[in-house]
Assembly symmetry: C2
Homo-oligomer: 206 residues x 2
């Protein structure tokens, strides 16, 4: 993909992400994006490597928006800050989550949060294999949590649907599932995210 002229990569990212946010994943189409930008569909191919490249573009657009503050405190606090920043960015674009879970681009803006997370984790004294494991655990938790919030059996567009779906389950076979479903119905996702992360950080301290 050579450097093109009619649009910038940022323009493409913004238009594509806007398409996903407003019309859902089904709205992300070569033709749709092209007309949004006022060109023919084939023009997009000058900026992006086919459909897959288009999806990577959106995923990168989301991840590059992750923000956090350098706390200067202990490594665990810093890890929590970065993790929450990444999660928050993902959460702001729910329709894009399947792309973020599935495609992963390797441009600098996308990798920056990962590197920051690694650096913070390395201040726990880990390196090599231990650092890799710690990293996989935390970043797995971030995307896993985002995905769970979106598509777990406990989540849906409306709480009514959840209650209804859970009520349809045979109560004798799924008692625990029903128990936590009622708890999940009115819980604060941010509090939950933090609490789960603290669990992992406690494990990292041990």
């Amino acid at each position: 993909m050579p450097a093109p002229r009619k649009f910038t990569r940022e323009q493409l990212q913004a238009a594509a992400l806007n398409l996903v946010d407003t019309q859902g994943l089904a709205g992300l189409t070569m033709r749709n994006l092209a007309t949004e930008l006022g060109t023919g569909a084939m023009t997009i191919y000058n900026y992006v490597d086919g459909r897959e490249g288009l999806e990577e573009l959106v995923a990168a657009a989301v991840m590059s928006q992750a923000r956090w503050t350098e706390t200067g405190e202990d490594w665990a606090t810093q890890v929590a800050a970065i993790a929450e920043g990444m999660w928050w960015a993902v959460r702001a674009h729910p329709h894009a989550i399947p792309l973020i879970l599935t495609r992963r681009s390797s441009d600098a803006a996308t990798l920056a949060p990962a590197e920051a997370l690694l650096r913070a984790l390395s201040h726990s004294g880990r390196s090599g294999r231990d650092l890799l494991i710690a990293f996989r655990t935390v970043s797995g938790y971030i995307s896993g949590f985002a995905q769970a919030e979106l598509t777990s059996p406990l989540s849906a567009a409306t709480p009514e649907v959840v209650t209804e779906r859970i009520a349809a389950l045979p109560a004798d076979r799924f008692p625990k599932l029903i128990e936590i479903a009622t708890v999940a119905a009115d819980s604060d996702p941010r509090e939950e995210f933090r609490a789960g992360l603290q669990l992992i950080l406690a494990g990292l301290h041990a």
Copy 2:
């Protein structure tokens, strides 16, 4: 979806999963599945609620294959057994992972592993909100790890591609990423999965 006659749901699941395993996600098509079964495309609609229902069918097929043994030991050992069983099932069908991450059906066979995991976790003495958080953390870890193995910046079809992609990064901006990439190149995924899970279990013990 009323009960149909020409095929069973299991036949549909097997054929659809086989399609995904052999041809990848792009091979999962109404028309493809139909000709595989020797019918017209429209017949599939008697068994499944559109394209989305077809994807749920595949996700359910994978998750229902999770197996584990009742250890009878402490709750942490049991949690680890179930978690590893779920991860192993997912891992056996790499092409289906995007569907598992994205679609979630609520039939009994799919929910059984989740309920088992909840029961094991409840033996740590947790219930209500604490149980919910523990569950989200562990199941987030499972799918997050599976996804990371498939699509992280550190993974690719061949190790050469990873090394090449990492080598393309500016070494001064991403030192830690480069460090763990070389470690990840020759590591045993199963050992890694277990080690990360132990991290979480340690946190659950605290």
